[in-house]
């Protein structure tokens, strides 16, 4: 393992300057000298947490002690290996997610960034986000992460009500969260995001809206609203099953969502995705890459990636999943440089389905130009223009198809999953009619 050298420190320092300078005006249209197959976003998974949250079914572990040096080495190795395999030359964003990556040492973050910068081009203005948990993110630690190269924070605030935080199994209080938020804004002005959950058991609309309004007094330029989904295997799920807690009311959650988006619109936020709101252009470029079906590499236990392999002569994108369990993953990385557990080639139709399903989550939807990058033959009008069922959705005002492209209306965005049940089969049908001789995935 290379100790972060001058070059990495140099990168972090450069990034530090850049974050003040930079404003993403339209994340979707950032021009790049590299072709799409040579660009990627990078996700790094830190699998450990201090404590299990009652709602979380992510791939995370509560360790007795973390062998951080070994983990760091493996993250570095795998990042390098995957960058080489993919032939990616330019990494446009890095996202440290988890787990609780703010529990990792800043040294680990800088080591990974340095390795990336050594293997590919990591522009100084690249977005480098760290997910931070209020209790593990004191001001001094945040400053150290900043020095390590992090230039954007996503804070898991979740609620401003202490009893709700307790229900969720969070280790912090509302005051802790607000303190962390203030410190983060001081260190990363304009580049701090907070998560707020809605639709909790027994949660009521009025108090929740008041939480959101309170949060608006404190927050920066980015906010995510997440409806709680009860996941099998979580403590919360079990409590609801056993009747110890009331089941979340989807009607109320829908009302919170609709009222919440209206409040945020009033406050000057752009809802640029189903759950994400930004003002002053503070969109997350990393997440934008997912919704635009750009390439991304996933590093760390259980991380997902989607990219093309370099030098195989194939132009097929692969969906990759790394080994879930940290110890096994580390063994594999040490043995073969990466811990990829599953590789599934994505057929061309499958990729188009993802373009559709992910693109419609955004406010711009799927522009004609964007669609054409993935499918030069069949236009959006070819696919959807003649369908009676799609027409019905257009007439109901849930969907728009015009000169700009295909997108959801304000009302339609909230019921996108239902719209997709009409749109996806239509795409399949058009694909089968339009390309009888083509083998999907060819």
């Amino acid at each position: 393992m290379a100790v972060p050298g001058a070059r990495a420190r140099g990168w972090a320092a450069a990034a530090k300057t850049a974050q003040r300078r930079r404003r993403v005006e339209d994340a979707g249209a950032s021009p790049s000298p590299e072709m799409a197959s040579r660009r990627a976003a990078l996700y790094v998974h830190w699998p450990y947490c201090e404590k299990r949250c009652s709602y979380c079914n992510f791939n995370k572990y509560i360790p007795r002690g973390v062998q951080e040096a070994a983990m760091r080495n493996c993250l570095v190795t795998e990042a390098q290996t995957l960058l080489q395999l993919s032939g990616v030359r330019r990494v446009e964003s890095v996202f440290f997610g988890g787990g609780t990556p703010s529990l990792a040492s800043p040294h680990t973050v800088s080591a990974v960034l340095e390795a990336v910068a050594r293997t590919a081009h990591l522009p100084a203005d690249s977005e480098v986000t760290l997910e931070a948990n209020p209790t593990s993110a004191s001001g001094s630690r945040l400053a150290a992460f900043g020095a390590a190269g992090v230039n954007r924070l996503s804070i898991g605030l979740q609620s401003l009500d202490d009893s709700e935080l307790q229900l969720l199994g969070r280790t912090h209080s509302a005051d802790d969260a607000l303190r962390t938020l203030a410190e983060a804004r001081h260190l990363f002005p304009g580049r701090v995001s907070v998560d707020l959950m809605l639709g909790l058991p027994a949660q009521r609309v009025g108090p929740w809206i008041r939480q959101l309004q309170e949060l608006l007094h404190h927050c920066d330029d980015h906010l995510s609203l997440y409806q709680l989904s009860l996941e099998r295997g979580t403590a919360l799920f079990a409590q609801v099953q056993q009747g110890a807690l009331p089941a979340p009311d989807p009607e109320l959650a829908a009302e919170m969502y609709q009222k919440g988006r209206a409040v945020l619109r009033e406050a000057g936020f752009r809802q640029y995705e189903v759950s994400n709101f930004a003002r002053n252009g503070a969109l997350s470029t990393h997440n934008w890459t997912y919704w635009q079906c750009g390439q991304y590499l996933g590093v760390g236990p259980g991380a997902h990636g989607r990219f093309m392999l370099q030098g195989t002569g194939s132009h097929t994108r692969e969906a990759r999943i790394q080994t879930l369990e940290p110890d096994n993953w580390m063994k594999e990385v040490m043995l073969s440089g990466h811990g990829t557990r599953k590789r599934v080639p994505l057929g061309k139709l499958e990729l188009l389905e993802e373009v559709l399903a992910m693109g419609l989550r955004t406010d711009v939807g799927i522009t004609h130009q964007h669609w054409q990058q993935f499918e030069p033959q069949l236009t959006l009008n070819d696919v959807f223009g003649a369908s009676e069922e799609v027409k019905l959705l257009l007439e109901q005002g849930l969907l728009l198809l015009d000169d700009r492209g295909l997108r959801c209306s304000w009302e339609g965005l909230a019921v996108l999953d239902s719209l997709l049940l009409t749109l996806l089969p239509r795409l399949q049908e058009a694909w089968q009619q339009g390309t009888p001789s083509l083998v999907p995935g060819g």
Partner: protein, 643 residues
């Protein structure tokens, strides 16, 4: 356990296994058909020992009438009837004495699982007593009220019965022998001195039961020299040998090569094989008057060997035995394959099962939601459940069974309709065919006379339940200090689905229920439609009593609401009689249906889920603009109870 062997005392009484005073007064056995040769079936004979099997053809003439006893065992479910039968078979050397003999005569999986007898079985036992060789024919009958006719025919082949009463039912805290003794005296007028106290489980005193059978049950009053007169008391179908009829000879002799005639069908057959059952088939040269066995005579279909029919020799006609009736279904239900591609497999399974059970009626039927299927008629609900269970267990069929309905009748007033149906009175087995009131002078519904026996502390609650089911009280007596026997006239549709469950739950399992056919009564029936956004759902059309329409309509709408997924618009669910809406529920439109988090790690899972949902959407049935999952109706149909 006490057994009573006696003669005559049971004649002229409704056979009532519940009188035994047991705690768990569940309804006893039913009776679909046994398929001794059906490949999927477990065969008791496989377990029978070689020592007990008979290798050579028996000469049955060595058993004169005076050495024959034909008897049956009557007991409440779980009182040990099958255990006693097992011991009797062991004691007479019919089967080996091993620990594995459990319910030897109950061959079907459904019988073993439910602890009931579904199909009559006969076992001929050879028993030496005082240097005489006796032939003891044990005829094991089903016990459930659904099969009361079959039971009556089986019993008409017997001259006596063993009544088995468990005096020590463990889950009955207040049971004791003295009380059982008193009840037996009170209900049957049998003195306690006639009881034999045994333990079938341990085999204690079982030998004395056999001695009592010989001493107390008379030999059949029959004549070998008279022309053949044989009662068919059961029949099964064997795919290689055709119909195997269980027969009891009242007069005469039958042997291979005889030409016989069915008194009911008047068809002539040549006897290929006769024999006894011990309990597997063992062919004999002949069967003689008083004996019980089987007969194979080239009958192709069980309907040719109807229960209660009389067989006699060609050119020697006799007076048919009394009591013959054709099977009469009481309960009808639609049966459909879960997947239409399974239609042919299910068809063949139903054909095979009905080959053995002529009491099931089969009409082809179809509906838009469920596709092609059948409307089947059953003797009762247990019969239906057993049939369904056998389809699943023995033929691996997976079926959708719609809510059972009863055969309503309509007296037509429209001359045109009378001409069309060829009759003034028609029976409606499918609600979709319910004629409009304007063309009908009156509707009739089937009624049954129900008997409930309960500890008296539940009487009040039970009377309220009966009242809610439109029942009319006919009688109420105390059968002992704390047990009450209630008799009610029930509309059949009120008890078809869940009455028994309700009764059991409000009496902590103590009350028993039994019913018998009591004809038809005038009823104010209406046809109720269920509408989705104004469009009628054909498979949910229900016939209901006018007074219950609102209640039932509301219940169906509520259940449908729970099983219809939300859509992008509001769905109105309505119950209507004619143009009048009597109940309404609303499924609200989706306001939010989008996954909150969808980042790099969520895409694969999300796409999989969406595609699965899109596939499912293709299979939805559309009623107007409303998309309905198939199981939505099934859920409503299955759980619909006519309260």
């Amino acid at each position: 356990m006490w057994t009573l062997a006696g003669r005559g005392w049971w004649r002229g009484r409704a056979l009532a296994p519940w009188v035994t005073g047991a705690a768990n007064m569940a309804l006893p056995g039913p009776r679909p058909a046994p398929t001794r040769r059906a490949p999927a079936e477990f065969r008791a004979s496989d377990r029978l020992s070689s020592s007990a099997s008979l290798k050579e053809k028996l000469d049955m003439s060595i058993f004169p009438v005076e050495n024959i006893r034909n008897f049956s065992i009557i007991a409440h479910v779980d009182h040990g009837k099958s255990t006693l039968a097992d011991r009797l078979l062991e004691l007479t050397g019919t089967i080996d004495k091993t620990k594995n003999n459990k319910q030897v005569l109950d061959k079907l999986q459904v019988e073993r699982e439910r602890g009931i007898t579904v199909k009559a079985q006969t076992a001929s036992l050879f028993y030496n007593c005082e240097r005489k060789q006796y032939l003891l024919n044990l005829i094991d009958t089903p016990g459930h009220v659904d099969f009361s006719y079959e039971v009556s025919r089986s019993l008409s082949a017997c001259q006596g019965v063993l009544l088995v009463v468990d005096a020590n039912e463990i889950d009955l805290k207040n049971a004791d022998p003295e009380r059982v003794e008193k009840q037996i005296e009170k209900v049957f007028d049998i003195p306690s001195s006639e009881c034999i106290k045994i333990s079938a489980k341990l085999g204690t005193n079982v030998e004395s039961v056999l001695q009592a059978v010989i001493e107390r049950i008379p030999p059949p009053k029959v004549h070998r020299k008279n022309p053949l007169r044989a009662l068919v008391f059961d029949s099964i179908f064997d795919q290689y040998r055709g119909v195997i009829a269980n027969v009891a000879l009242f007069d005469g002799v039958v042997s291979k090569g005889d030409k016989i005639i069915s008194a009911y069908t008047q068809k002539t057959y040549e006897v290929n094989e006769v024999g006894i059952l011990n309990p597997n088939e063992h062919s004999t040269h002949k069967l003689y008057a008083g004996q019980v066995g089987y007969l194979i005579a080239g009958m192709k279909d069980v309907t040719e060997a109807q229960i209660g029919d009389t067989l006699y020799l060609h050119k020697q006609p006799v007076e048919p035995l009394p009591g013959f009736k054709s099977a009469k279904p009481m309960v009808f239900a639609g049966m459909y394959p879960v997947d239409q591609s399974e239609y042919n497999n299910l068809k063949s399974a139903i054909e095979k099962l009905t080959l053995n059970d002529s009491s099931v009626t089969v009409h082809r039927d179809s509906c838009l939601a469920l596709g092609a299927g059948w409307r089947l008629g059953f003797l009762g609900l247990l019969h239906m459940e057993v049939f369904n269970q056998r389809l699943e267990q023995e033929y691996n069929a997976s079926v959708i069974l719609t809510t059972p309905t009863v055969p309503y009748k309509a007296v037509l007033s429209s001359a045109k309709l009378i001409k069309e149906y060829g009759d003034k009175e028609i029976t409606i087995i499918n609600p979709a065919q319910f004629p409009d009131k304007s063309k009908v002078s009156e509707y009739l519904e089937p009624v049954v006379l129900g008997t409930i026996i309960t500890p008296d502390e539940f009487t009040g609650k039970i009377m309220m339940l009966c009242q809610a089911r439109r029942a009319i009280q006919k009688n109420m007596i105390f059968i002992d200090q704390n047990r009450v026997m209630l008799k009610y006239l029930f509309p059949l549709n009120e008890i078809v689905v869940d009455f028994y469950d309700s009764l059991k739950s409000l009496s902590s399992g103590y009350a028993s229920f039994d019913y018998e056919d009591a004809g038809y009564q005038t009823a104010e029936l209406v046809k109720m439609d269920i509408l989705l956004n104004g469009n009628i759902v054909e498979e949910l059309v229900t016939i209901v009593h006018k007074d219950k329409a609102h209640f039932v309509g509301k219940a169906i709408c509520e259940r449908l609401k729970d099983s219809l997924p939300r859509q992008l618009f509001e769905i109105a669910i309505q119950a209507a009689i004619g143009s009048k809406i009597i109940a309404r529920e609303t499924v609200k439109a989706y306001r939010k249906n989008v996954l909150a988090k969808c980042y790099g790690g969520d895409i694969t899972r999300k796409m999989k889920l969406l595609k699965r949902q899109a596939e499912g959407k293709k299979k939805l049935r559309k009623i107007g603009n409303v998309e309905v999952p198939k199981d939505a109706f099934i859920k409503v149909l299955k759980t619909q109870s006519d309260k």
